[in-house]
């Protein structure tokens, strides 16, 4: 079952080749390869072949809120979206702050067979920001947790952040930080702070709440010799600090979401909680700065921050509604349409930002590998010409908080392959 012959695929959008996969590994790349007996052929003429996408930032809601998403439905959405690996954030109920919790998520992910689900461990017990969670035990578990995050909350206490960074250095761990100083905004902040929030009467987060934490953490990374990953950068100010830190040689990586690369704060004028997300949608100038930073490498990776929510958690007044929006199924289309079609990034660049770099940041050895003989066959075929309109009701996710509904994008995921097995074909999981 893990053997395949892919014919006529343009490798990273370049030359068309045949790719033979045997035993879940790329066995041969060449022209007009013959399929051994009983090996399924995937005709990929006109399609481009990329390493399977890797998402550094996914919320799967299991355990705790299986009405919004399960690991199985999230993995299905991932497969349909071209992902072969996703990192599951720790803010479930209970929180992923023990080895046992991490292993359970790993196992539930394996059972789906649709994507590798790698748990992220909490930095602090219960995401409370006070005491370190059992970081090393999570790392020593079968889940081999390397990325730790209190996402949804900033590790705000500088002392706690410093100790976490020092501690994970022992085993090459990384802290993925939700960079947002809670003291610089009210507790009910729910959008970008600026003229629009002033007019709408909504409490906002100023850009400076993000940039000051990035600056602090950059200095802590330098001081501790440890690595910080900046989750979902959303502001031009944040990008400016990242650029400075990287120029100093500080070990810092960063991700940006598809929604921060395309959607702007104006959508909040409708008070539709579909567009309520944390960090919030920002003005156009920020979107432009984020695109430029992703293109020039200041931002290393795209990560979805896929955040499913039951309808009844979104259908409240704007300040009371849950934060977050879906992203797994649309990420490739959004990034392709926004950056590749416009010529700012080529397909190899997209593969780097959506597969190679995130796999490297997360330490996932089987993903984001070059399309070469001997590499694990975690792959995705994409159609760069196909234009599709997003239909929220067609989603594999259990939730419908889809900000992309009704929008059309050029560039679509065609077939996703996990260790030589097709997991999804044109929106249908296998």
């Amino acid at each position: 079952m893990s053997d395949l012959l892919i014919t006529g695929a343009r490798l990273l959008g370049g030359e068309a080749k045949d790719v033979l996969v045997l035993g879940g590994t790329i066995a041969e790349i060449g022209a007009a390869l013959d399929a051994p007996r009983d090996v399924e052929t995937v005709q990929a003429e006109g399609l481009a072949l990329l390493p399977g996408l890797v998402d550094l930032h996914t919320h799967l809601r299991e355990p705790g809120r299986e009405d919004a998403e399960t690991i199985a439905t999230g993995a299905a959405a991932a497969a349909v979206g071209g992902f072969t690996a996703v990192l599951a954030m720790a803010n479930t109920s209970p929180v992923t702050d023990t080895a046992e919790a991490a292993e359970r998520i790993l196992d539930l992910g394996r059972a789906t067979g649709l994507a590798d689900v790698q748990p992220i461990g909490a930095v602090t017990k219960g995401l409370e920001g006070a005491e370190l969670a059992e970081l090393a035990l999570m790392h020593r578990s079968r889940a081999v947790v390397r990325v730790f995050s209190d996402d949804g909350h900033c590790v705000h206490d500088a002392r706690v952040m410093r100790r976490a960074l020092e501690y994970v250095r022992a085993f090459g761990g990384v802290v993925s930080q939700h960079s947002q100083d809670p003291d610089l905004a009210g507790s009910s902040a729910c959008c970008h702070e600026g003229e629009l929030s002033g007019r709408l009467g909504l409490p906002g987060w100023p850009s400076v709440a993000e940039s000051t934490i990035i600056a602090r953490d950059a200095q802590l990374a330098r001081h501790t010799g440890s690595r910080v990953h900046v989750a979902h950068v959303s502001t031009a100010e944040g990008v400016e600090v990242l650029r400075w830190a990287k120029a100093q040689g500080i070990d810092l990586t960063a991700e940006v979401t598809p929604h921060h690369l395309l959607l702007t704060q104006d959508l909040v004028s409708s008070y539709d909680p579909t567009f309520k997300v944390n960090p919030p949608l920002r003005p156009t100038e920020d979107v432009e700065a984020l695109r430029a930073a992703l293109v020039d490498g200041t931002i290393d990776a795209v990560a979805t921050d896929h955040a499913p929510h039951a309808r009844h958690d979104k259908e409240h007044a704007f300040v009371d509604a849950a934060f977050g929006m879906l992203g797994l199924e649309t990420a490739f289309a959004v990034v392709h349409d926004t950056l590749v079609r416009g010529g700012q990034l080529d397909l190899a660049g997209l593969a780097d930002r959506m597969s190679v770099a995130p796999a490297r940041i997360a330490g996932l050895a089987d993903h984001g590998q070059p399309l070469a003989v001997g590499a694990p066959a975690n792959l995705v075929l994409v159609d760069t010409e196909s234009t599709q309109t997003v239909d929220a009701s067609a989603s594999k996710s259990l939730s419908r908080n889809n900000p992309w509904h009704g929008m059309s994008f050029t560039g679509a995921v065609h077939t996703t392959i996990l260790r030589g097995r097709v997991t999804a074909r044109q929106g249908v999981t296998e």
């Binding site: 702070e193 929030s197 007019r199 009467g201 909504l202 100023p206 909680p273 409240h316 007044a317 704007f318």
Partner: protein
């Protein structure tokens, strides 16, 4: 002449200058009902209005209730503290339940900005925003305009200064729209910490002025003409704990309408009027002398509130076939 009224009144932006004018003109007729012995006209007979108040309110809720009752509508009050989120029911479920009973209008007060906008997208009934968080309070702006016009005449070219906690005020956001549409010049005055974020570009865009110095605004001559109306906004003492200003005393010295400021103003401009949306913090943003001065319109505002809300209900709920003549000529048909 037929004026097209919006289906809902969610923001002052829903009304153009002509729409505002129409509502204020009708309010004048409604005001006469208030002076009658029998305060009842049949205009909204058979209509049901729900006053849905998720946040405490005495004056606005009773003002809407009286307005509905005098127009013979069936009015029902539903009050519920706290957000529906805390009760486990979504806001959408709450309002759709009420809507399903077949009500004609939902008059809604909610602690969250935008709540009325969201509700309007979920229900069949007409929605009237009676205050949403720190966003808008359109009927307050209408009654403010009505009250000021009664004393000052047309607001075209008049100078209105709005002073106080602008950040947390829904009154100022609605007034900025309506006063500009009625042609008034507006200056907003507050310490920087009590001004909404981005107000600098907002002011440029909408053509109003900003100041952090109340005395400078009150003394202004020449192009910054003397102030004709002072609108003092409530300052909540709990804002001090948020670090918005250090002490009540310091606030009053900088931005309060003190007895001293009142006397200086009265000397300079005998026509000056003073408004306050209430409830007043006497001694903080407004001195007792100012609140009770001859220039104070505070009680006129309350009285006008009923007439303006009758007018709004009439224009939103009564069809073109419900002649307004019933208002002007009705004497004996009240049951």
């Amino acid at each position: 002449m037929t004026i097209t009224m919006p289906r809902h009144l969610l923001s002052m932006a829903d009304l153009d200058a002509e729409g505002i004018r129409t509502i204020l003109d009708t309010a004048t007729q409604m005001h006469d009902v208030q002076k009658r012995e029998v305060k009842k006209i049949p205009t909204l007979r058979g209509r049901t209005i729900i006053n849905l108040f998720f946040e405490d309110s005495t004056r606005t809720r009773s003002s809407f209730e009286i307005a509905g009752k005098w127009m013979s509508a069936d009015t029902i009050n539903i009050t519920g503290k706290g957000s529906s989120a805390s009760k486990g029911e979504s806001l959408r479920d709450t309002v759709r339940t009420i809507d399903a009973m077949g009500v004609d209008a939902i008059v809604m007060r909610h602690g969250a900005s935008g709540a009325a906008h969201q509700v309007a997208s979920w229900v069949q009934a007409h929605v009237i925003n009676a205050g949403d968080g720190t966003h808008e309070h359109p009927t307050q702006a209408l009654l403010d305009a009505y009250t000021m016009e009664r004393r000052l005449g047309s607001l075209e070219g008049r100078h209105v200064a709005i002073v106080g906690d602008l950040t947390h005020s829904r009154v100022v956001r609605s007034n900025l729209i309506s006063l500009r549409r009625l042609g008034a010049d507006v200056t907003v005055v507050a310490p920087p910490t009590l001004m909404p974020s981005g107000i600098g570009t907002w002011a440029q865009r909408e053509g109003f002025a900003l100041s952090h110095d109340l005395d400078e605004v009150l003394q202004a001559q020449g192009p910054g003409r003397p102030v004709d109306a002072l609108m003092m906004l409530r300052v909540q003492k709990e804002r001090m704990s948020g670090g918005y200003f250090p002490t009540a005393r310091e606030y009053t010295v900088g931005y309060g309408l003190t007895r001293d400021r009142l006397m200086r103003l009265t000397d300079a401009n005998p026509h000056l009027v003073i408004c306050h949306p209430g409830p007043m913090n006497r001694g903080l943003e407004i001195s007792a002398d100012a609140a009770d001065a001859a220039q104070s319109l505070v009680l006129d505002q309350v009285s006008a509130g009923v007439a303006v809300r009758m007018s709004v209900l009439y224009h939103l709920l009564a069809g073109a076939d419900d002649p307004i003549g019933a208002v002007a000529t009705n004497e004996g048909s009240a049951a």
